[in-house]
């Protein structure tokens, strides 16, 4: 074994120092081992990390949202510029301070920890809250905050919270809600107005019918009877055949006028309806229809199905009359059945069934759009305003059943 000279030892020491210095200064690319080369790219990795962090920080700092991280004790470990602006304080003052300044007044940071750690099994446990807060300038603002549990490589756990000022959205929602409420109120008012107007219209029609019927009964028919009485006396005093024949002819005309007047009076306001109620009115209607159109109309009724007030009674009668008339006019039935009954839910039901041609019930909607089914549509609308409804069951060749339903206790103004 040779003894190395001092110079050789110094040279080796210089080599070792040079290597150590290069390693410390990060000037080394690779380490040469026995059988392999280990590349050292620490500087590159560090640079990449630095760039990445700068990018991340840039994104976070540019956010309009408030971004802040805090630990289990509630101490802030990271905040962005938006957060500092919101609290109108410097970063130095805020870092390390307590998170409660950034949370809604009634929110305890321990509750957030507890809730997030309880859901830690989830892929990315998070918690959302939207609460009103008072800003440092005294304004009442709405914040939407998402809290998320974050674990770093060293096993430290923090919560990252991202808060967004959603005051504008909340105000818009509130305005929309107020507008909707206002609109609903106006629709309600208009509907009530419409109900009143329709009611007044119905009432006016019925009143006019009764007035005309009264006039026919009290005035015209009395005059016709008196005329006939006078004519009878003239007939008795006739001196020749010509005068007698003319008087007979005039008497016949007076009889027909009297009959037409009585018929018109019944049409306008059936005495049976006014004096005995809906069922009696419908029975009279059946007889009238049979007589006029030679179609039997069977009426079967429930005495309990009597409307509480005369206006509803007259209205339901007029609806039933229109439906029966339509059936006879359009469906060419051999028989029509009218039934009334008191339903278990307190409603009155009038059913009009025929064995005529029938029609496509679904097409009725389209027909209404072309106003061909306006009669049924008008009845349906009116029933709905009263709190009732209309049912149509029909098919081509299978007859039809129209059911009118109205609350028995519906008042004249349409309210139950």
């Amino acid at each position: 074994m040779s003894v190395e000279s001092t110079d050789e030892l110094r040279a080796k020491l210089a080599e070792a120092e040079s290597i150590i210095e290069a390693l410390r200064g990060g000037k080394v690319d690779a380490v040469v081992g026995d059988e392999q080369i280990a590349l050292l790219r620490l500087r590159e990795v560090e640079e990449a990390l630095r760039r990445s962090e700068a990018r991340y920080r840039g994104i976070v700092e540019d956010q309009a949202d408030l971004v802040f991280r805090w630990n289990r004790e509630g101490r802030l470990t990271f905040i962005n510029e938006a957060f500092c602006r919101w609290l109108a304080q410097t970063r130095e003052r805020l870092e390390g301070s307590h998170v409660s300044a950034a949370l809604p007044a009634d929110t305890n940071h321990r509750d957030i920890w507890a809730e997030l750690t309880a859901t830690e099994g989830a892929e990315r446990p998070s918690l959302d809250q939207e609460e009103p807060v008072t800003s440092p300038t005294g304004e009442r603002r709405w914040l939407n905050i998402t809290h998320r549990l974050i674990h770093d490589d060293e096993g430290e756990t923090e919560i990252q919270s991202v808060a967004r000022d959603v005051t504008e959205r909340r105000c818009a929602q509130e305005q929309l809600r107020e507008l909707n409420a206002d609109l609903e109120q106006r629709v309600e008012q208009r509907t009530a107005q419409l109900k009143r107007l329709l009611n007044e219209l119905d009432e006016a029609e019925q009143r006019e019918r009764r007035r005309l019927a009264q006039f026919l009964h009290d005035d015209l028919q009395q005059l016709l009877v008196a005329s006939k009485f006078t004519l009878t006396r003239v007939r008795q005093q006739a001196t020749d055949e010509t005068q007698s024949a003319a008087a007979d002819r005039a008497a016949e005309l007076l009889d027909r006028s009297l009959s037409a007047s009585r018929s018109l009076m019944s049409q306008l306001s059936p005495t049976e309806l006014q004096e005995s109620g809906l069922l009696a009115g419908l029975e009279w209607l059946g007889e009238q229809m049979h007589e006029m159109h030679q179609v039997p109309v069977a009426v079967e009724g429930d005495p309990r199905a009597e409307p509480r007030n005369h206006q509803l009674r007259d209205l339901l009668f007029s609806f039933a009359r229109e439906v029966v008339f339509n059936a006879i006019k359009h469906a060419r039935p051999s028989q029509v059945w009218v039934t009334t009954r008191r339903r278990g839910d307190g409603h009155i039901e009038i059913g009009v069934r025929d064995d005529g041609d029938g029609f496509d019930a679904d097409a009725r909607v389209r027909a209404q759009q072309h106003q061909t089914g306006l009669g049924l549509w008008r009845i349906e609308e009116r029933l709905q305003l009263l709190g009732g409804w209309l049912e149509v069951d029909s098919a081509p060749g299978a007859g039809a059943r129209i059911t009118l339903v109205a609350p028995a206790s519906a008042d004249a103004d349409g309210e139950e």
Partner: protein, 106 residues
């Protein structure tokens, strides 16, 4: 005396420098070392440098033979004594001193 000294300088001035630069591919520090060595040799040593570049990624045995542990690393084989500088060779004066190259001013 001055003559003898002059003779040694003359011998030193005329000596051929056998250098090996160990690098690791095109890694950044190795690239800097290539550039810096070219600058050093392009000065007063022009025409007297015999430089071999060994890439340890393709030939690590040569590095092992010369007990090279890290790259980049410059090894002076001749003239004696052997000397070694690790790193990017950025500090030119340090390299000249370590390799006992002639003073820049001479």
């Amino acid at each position: 005396m001055s003559g003898a000294a002059s003779d040694r300088d003359a011998t030193s001035d005329e000596a051929i420098y056998r250098l090996i630069l160990f690098v690791a591919g095109r890694e950044p520090n190795s690239e800097q070392a290539r550039t810096n060595l070219a600058n050093i040799c392009g000065g007063h040593l022009e025409g007297r440098c015999d430089i071999e570049v060994v890439d340890v990624l393709t030939d690590y045995r040569t590095a092992l033979e010369h007990n090279i542990l890290v790259t980049p690393c410059l090894l002076k084989l001749e003239p004696n004594p052997r000397a070694l500088v690790a790193g990017t060779l950025r500090d030119t004066e340090k390299v000249r001193t370590a390799l006992q190259l002639p003073n820049k001013a001479s």
